[in-house]
């Protein structure tokens, strides 16, 4: 009988095996999302063209997770670093990976303007409804009533507004004939992979801006056990509707 601990995990080609054991917290969604992204890159055979940037926050831990060239930027600034690359070298397929704080708060102006300008890049925004790395503060996406370190009595929408809907915001400003905008979830990785493939293909075709929001989980900061974590994700899916919002022509063949 083989000792299963000595059998290396099967990783996509586009994922770097060198970091070894995951640096993310137990139960974190990032590992699933990154593996899904790497699989999508593999299936589209984009390893030669892909370049990856990650933001500050938990996403920065992925700085050496990919088996492609990567750059870790400042908080909110991954979007301009990546469109700086793709403007200079249009054959590159640029991927900017960030959290909800990086994309919808500190870097929101970059996300909006990159979408408006139809920058040929893919933004992957991981929405776990809080700032994970800094210890679980309220994010723009924090659900009404949700307890975080800066909303210890629950998010009061009168005082702090309603949760930001990133995919809907991006949909409102993109060129609908060129951009791909969608929201997936770690509840359905097969669907998330298809979405990532469509997002990547849209950029690789030189058509336009792609935005894939991934609903994710943060059991440590949520202080939830396995059952409550997935219940919370269901609750998120009620608020943040999963599905494609903008789909340009030309992606019909991507499954």
């Amino acid at each position: 009988m083989p000792n299963i601990l000595t059998v290396p995990p099967r990783l996509p080609e586009a994922q770097n095996p060198d970091p070894g054991v995951s640096k993310f917290c137990p139960g974190c969604g990032h590992g699933m999302i990154l593996k899904t992204l790497a699989s999508a890159i593999d299936e589209l055979n984009l390893q030669a063209r892909a370049v990856y940037g990650c933001d500050i926050g938990c996403s920065l831990l992925s700085w050496n997770y990919m088996n492609i060239d990567t750059i870790q930027a400042h908080h909110g600034r991954t979007t301009p670093v990546i469109y700086g690359i793709t403007r200079a070298t249009p054959e590159a397929v640029g991927i900017a990976y960030m959290g909800d704080g990086g994309g919808l708060a500190i870097g929101a102006q970059h996300l909006v303007n990159a979408a408006v300008r139809n920058e040929k890049m893919l933004v992957i925004l991981v929405n776990n409804t809080n700032y994970g790395m800094t210890g679980g503060q309220m994010a723009p996406t924090t659900l009404p009533g949700q307890v975080t370190e800066t909303t210890p009595y629950g998010r009061d929408v009168e005082a702090t507004g309603k949760p930001a809907k990133g995919a809907e915001m991006v949909s409102a400003v993109v060129d609908t004939e060129a951009a791909y905008v969608t929201r997936g979830t770690v509840n359905n990785l097969r669907q998330l992979k298809t979405m990532m493939k469509k997002g990547l293909q849209n950029v690789a075709d030189g058509r336009g801006f792609s935005y894939v929001e991934a609903l994710s989980v943060c059991p440590l900061n949520w202080r939830t056990n396995n059952v409550d974590t997935w219940d919370r994700l269901d609750e998120m899916e009620d608020f943040f509707k999963v599905g494609e919002l903008v789909v340009p022509q030309g992606l019909e063949g991507v499954k």
Binding site: E13, A14, N16, Q47, A48, V51, I56, L60, W63, N64, M66, N67, I68, D69, T70, I71, Q72, A73, H74, R77, T79, P80, V81, I82, Y83, G84, I85, T86, R87, A88, T89, A92, Q109, H110, V112, N113
Partner: protein
């Protein structure tokens, strides 16, 4: 590759902002990322007007933060990319500049100083000296050329790209809106025709071969796990910066050899000082100039020698001693007394300097 505009020596009469754009083309700059702010706008305007002739690239971004970071993106992709800014734009661009410092990216930026703090005035000051040399949450591993006119703008813009790509420290052309907006004659030339080799840009990301297949992938970061890990990196930067400083440091002396009063001024104020020196010398007063061309790193030994020779020093600048603080730190142990003529955000004229130096001579009974 961008196309050359200037193939033989050509005398031009234009504004300093235009000169910077022409010089950037001459230096082989391939991409400009920028955001409007006075008084640097015409750098972008000229760059954009020239695009059909140069085949270069341009992107107008949503703010200076993104102008800075997208410039880093262009550099990471292996392009000679640059930007230009001023005042409050320089403040928010420090975010990207500090990443350039940490990742040793050859970031090139023309800073056309305007008044500060805050929005202040839009044309002139020398108040971004400290910010440009030491902005960001770090130690100031930056190279800063302070220009005094249009020929400087042409020469040092070309040099800035070479310095940046040779040493991989962020490099700045520090000027002001007077230089940017004023017209002057300038001799434009093809640097290669003058024997100046242009250091080629090389990609940090997406170099030859498929990452992870033909070669190891490149993983760049500016975040470290341990304090000691950071210190090891910074110690190596410090060692390298100090080692290369003598190769980079530049200064100009004007009639300083026998000067009893030594004026220390940089940028356009140094030109006012030269006018004043000629008039004062005609009156028999032995006065000279030490002008740091690089504010970071400073030419420390020549500065100390010049100060040691003089009986009095006068610091003058359009700021409240930002350059003087840089110099004074390096003058530790010298006993030459000094006085100051600071006009915050206002030009210093030759007349201002003549008046001040005559007063110094009279007060101190200097026999000049």
């Amino acid at each position: 590759m961008v196309k050359k505009l200037i193939t033989e020596d050509t005398k031009l009469f234009m504004t300093g902002n235009e000169v910077i754009a022409y010089a950037a083309v001459a230096a082989g700059a391939e991409f400009m990322y920028g955001y409007p702010i006075t008084p640097q706008n015409e750098v972008m305007h000229t760059w954009c007007k020239l695009l059909p002739k140069t085949d270069a690239g341009f992107l107008q971004t949503e703010d200076e933060i993104s102008a800075g970071f997208s410039t880093l993106g262009g550099i990471l992709a292996g392009k000679k990319a640059f930007t230009a800014t001023a005042g409050p734009g320089n403040v928010i661009m420090q975010d990207a500049m500090s990443m350039a410092e940490m990742n040793r990216l050859p970031f090139v930026c023309a800073v056309m100083q305007r008044g500060g703090p805050s929005t202040a005035t839009v044309i002139y000051a020398q108040q971004e000296t400290t910010l440009t040399c030491f902005g960001g949450n770090g130690e100031g591993y930056r190279i800063v050329y302070s220009t005094a006119g249009h020929q400087d703008l042409y020469d040092y813009t070309i040099k800035a790209f070479n310095t940046a790509w040779k040493y991989r420290f962020p490099t700045f052309i520090l000027a002001d809106g007077y230089q940017g907006k004023m017209r002057e004659p300038v001799m434009a030339y093809d640097p290669e025709a003058r024997g100046i080799d242009l250091i080629p840009a090389t990609p940090y990301l997406r170099a030859e071969g498929v990452a992870g297949v033909d070669r190891k992938p490149v993983h760049l970061r500016n975040c470290f796990n341990l304090e000691e890990e950071l210190m090891e990196v910074l110690d190596s930067y410090e060692e390298e910066f100090n080692r290369i400083a003598p190769e980079i440091a530049e200064y100009q002396e004007y009639k300083a050899e026998d000067a009893e009063v030594l004026i220390i001024a940089h940028g356009i104020v140094a030109r006012s000082a030269m006018t004043a020196i000629d008039e004062l010398r005609a009156k028999g007063i032995r006065v000279g100039l030490f002008r740091p061309i690089t504010l970071r790193p400073l030419a420390v030994d020549p500065l100390r020698k010049a100060v040691s020779r003089a009986k009095q020093v006068l610091f003058t600048e359009s700021a409240n001693g930002q350059m003087a603080r840089l110099a004074l730190e390096k003058m530790y142990g010298l006993t030459t007394p000094y006085q100051t003529l600071y006009k915050m955000g206002v030009g210093v004229t030759g007349g201002d300097i003549i008046e001040k130096v005559e007063k110094m001579v009279k007060e101190n009974n200097l026999v000049c």
